[in-house]
Symmetry: C2
Subunit: 211 residues, 2 copies
């Protein structure tokens, strides 16, 4: 198909597609004349993935290039590939005083040890969680890591099993990465909203004797 | 105590405290001389709450005023108060084509009906969740609302019970609102991180035959 049809079918403007071609996010089409090229279904699929990474995942274009290189590398197992994608979508953790950080980090490690979970595949997420524990302690919520954290792990585990099953059912490597990005990022927003809905329901059940 | 001591004990700059006084977020101290006033423990507690709403909850100063009015209103039950706080922290949902919106909204309502949950106390969160379902459908994940959503509700319910119990154990109205803001907002970040950690663990368990 021509670039105009690729644009129509993907819903992405021709100028944007040309930009992705220049940045190497999309492989060149087959030349059909000095200033025309032909594109196939694999371009359409790749465009969809690029959009998921940029628009849904919020990745900068340079990082999208790294993720696509991982998708295309035959040497990378699917598990490692998902690690690359996940790491690329994690925000860096803010700095904290060393003693506070060490205490919070130990709480996270202890919880994971108790469950027999490996800490190696998710260093960025562990740092983010550690920084939340540091902030909670600074605000006076020092017990949260022992009282609430285990329940958060229980709930997250159940949800993660659904996430991984859904992503793996998506098809080939490219589709699995697309699903992992979309379901992880939109799932964060969904889960936060559902948690608020559930908080309102639990408050209603516990507090309406109040009214 | 003088404003300088209030600043020291709260960790908030004198100029910022004066700004909160001008904006009515903090009640005036007792005049001790034409240009000096004395502040009590209630000012310290209120300052802590203002900071939680602004820094952790990300609320604009005008909204903080509304929340504080709700905290101070003796007519508002704790359940309604938590509703005001929760609503003030929810982002407005993006617009979507009406038919897509109605379909997604019906999926959310059906899931809540099945559980016997009341939809009235959390309109903002329901709209946010609906907009996520619309976006997922647009990206081709049309089944998510029936396959994954129930599991998300199960996990969120367990976590919300811990959240509400922790907030209610915090003490008086002011402390409960402080806890609700801090635990809801920092809990979002914690839960997203723990979900990534759990996804990595589940992937590891399911995919390392790959290596």
């Amino acid at each position: 198909m021509r670039i105009s049809e690729l644009s129509e079918r993907s819903g992405i403007a021709v100028a944007t597609i040309k930009y992705y071609l220049r940045e190497g996010l999309l492989p060149a089409g087959a030349r059909t004349s000095p200033n025309q090229a032909s594109y196939g279904e694999e371009h359409l699929r790749r465009l969809r993935l690029v959009r998921a990474l940029i628009e849904v995942g919020g990745l900068p274009v340079a990082t999208v290039g790294d993720v696509l290189a991982a998708v295309d590398s035959p040497d990378l197992s699917l598990f490692r590939l998902l690690g690359v994608v996940q790491g690329s979508m994690s925000a860096p953790a803010p700095a904290a005083p060393e003693a506070d950080w060490d205490r919070a980090h130990e709480t996270v490690r202890a919880e994971m040890d108790r469950r027999g979970w490996d800490t190696k595949p998710s260093p960025e997420a562990i740092d983010t969680l550690t920084s939340v524990l540091v902030r909670l302690a600074q605000l006076g919520y020092t017990d949260w890591g022992t009282t609430a954290l285990p329940t958060y792990f229980d709930g997250a585990r159940v949800i993660a099993e659904t996430d991984v099953a859904t992503a793996l059912a998506a098809g080939g490597r490219e589709d699995i990465v697309d699903a992992a990005v979309v379901l992880t990022v939109l799932g964060d927003t969904a889960l936060a909203a559902i948690r608020r809905i559930a908080q309102a329901q639990v408050s209603l059940e516990r507090l309406t004797v109040d009214e």
